[in-house]
Subunit: 275 residues, 2 copies
Amino acid sequence: MSKKQLIMEKSLDLFARQGFEATSVQQITSYCGISKGAFYLAFKSKDELIIALIDHFMKQITMDIDYTVRNTNKADTLYYFYHTLFTAFLKHSKFAKLLMKEQTQPLNEELLSKMRYYDNLVDQSILAMVEKTYGHKIEPIKYDLVYTIKGLMNSYSTLFLFNTLVLNVELVSKSLVEKTNILANHMSVPFITTDLIKSFKNEVEDMSKESLAELLSQSIEELDESIEKESLLILKEQLLMESYSLAIVKGMLENIRNHPDCKWISYLLRKYFQL
Amino acid sequence: MSKKQLIMEKSLDLFARQGFEATSVQQITSYCGISKGAFYLAFKSKDELIIALIDHFMKQITMDIDYTVRNTNKADTLYYFYHTLFTAFLKHSKFAKLLMKEQTQPLNEELLSKMRYYDNLVDQSILAMVEKTYGHKIEPIKYDLVYTIKGLMNSYSTLFLFNTLVLNVELVSKSLVEKTNILANHMSVPFITTDLIKSFKNEVEDMSKESLAELLSQSIEELDESIEKESLLILKEQLLMESYSLAIVKGMLENIRNHPDCKWISYLLRKYFQL
DNA sequence: TATAATAATGACTAACTGGTCATTTTGTCA
DNA sequence: TGACAAAATGACCAGTTAGTCATTATTATA
């Protein structure tokens, strides 16, 4: 096992128990049986460690959910969505705990942005699921239903994450499917409407040009020579220019579209250039 | 305004923005315009400050909720419950933020215990409300409904606490009333049953005899000479004895029953002596 | 005005923080 | 075995932390 993996596994243990801030690098290294220097050979900073953890697990979880929502037939989607989610949380329960503890107070702009990105991915999956399951009749209440689903997920997750409770994934999924169906079929007074969503989704301020450029540089460093790397270089150039060419930007974004390590930066850039 | 009040108000500001751990005493004192010494004249420690804050606000909020549930007619209880809750969270939004941030990682045994105590009070109010509103027909699903209500509360609260969103208390209450009614009337597959509640409510380990005695001493110090103070002294004596008299313990607990400053310690003792 | 009591100060401590880097250990070739 | 490179070390740094306490300032009382 690589040092990086070792540190990630062991630190997750401590973070889940004590939280990120309350865990010192000292503690992590002695728990791993390595020196402080070794830690900083694997990760540039303590912050980079938690970001690596969040990326690692959230990539998996969001991809699982997305796959499930796309590849189940209409009648079963809801059930398998909940099932996938709770199975993932059960499998990665330490990470889930860390996520619950840290989601209210992300420490820096990058983490905050990342959290929102993954949150958005989940939102999109849930929305797609709701539309697939209930069709257009759900239209006026769909956003409220999405939020209700997230609320239920969250509260039942907390329940088993922070109490020693043998979770029956089948039962909790069945129970939540029923609740969702009941609400979808009877709700008439949504709180979260399309307008409301607009009013606060827009206000999420973009990342600054500077930190975006910083992240681009990082991504560029991490990539091997390739079309993608060249595209990122050009994107950085365009970003820092007084006036950029939308055509070039769009083309370059298209180039990196399918590279797994560019998904996040591509999401951020598309938001920045409003594409 | 007393120093204590000043510190509580100003620190709440900082805690809500940055979290408890991330806020230093230094920062609090300079924000208050006082010296570090003055802070430690008002509070024994930084921990005591957050406990004072939680006590202050949770007492108010839980009492408001309890009063509402008791003093509204059957048909309106649900609505006024949500209304009271969201109004309280809106009024004390800084505290609510603090609560959301800290509830997953209480720093010490006392805080953890206190959180659970107030959580229990809210649970009891919600349960009473559910029973009052729906009568005995709700029996098989009442615990699940309580948990669902808490989940909805939590997620809609988070929504307006962490997004600049003008909360329409009437609308959100109306919407949640509808959701609650729909679920109460149609749900048939509860996840949280009476058995499940038993299985994890019991496992909450009691406070140790030592820390209980410690808290008793604190309460005793804070009280003026009175029947209550004497009763607490006797309770402490009994607690530390090899074999105590249940009769005396029960009598003494009865003595402190109605004193507002003894509610928590009385709750802890009753749990300890299993009364 | 003099005295006693109370309130407030901020320099100080000891412990801990994330992070660095000269030095040493280990592994890998010839 | 010797030479080189890569991996790992931990003493060290500058900064921050919660908390203390001798000293000073303020207020109330006589």
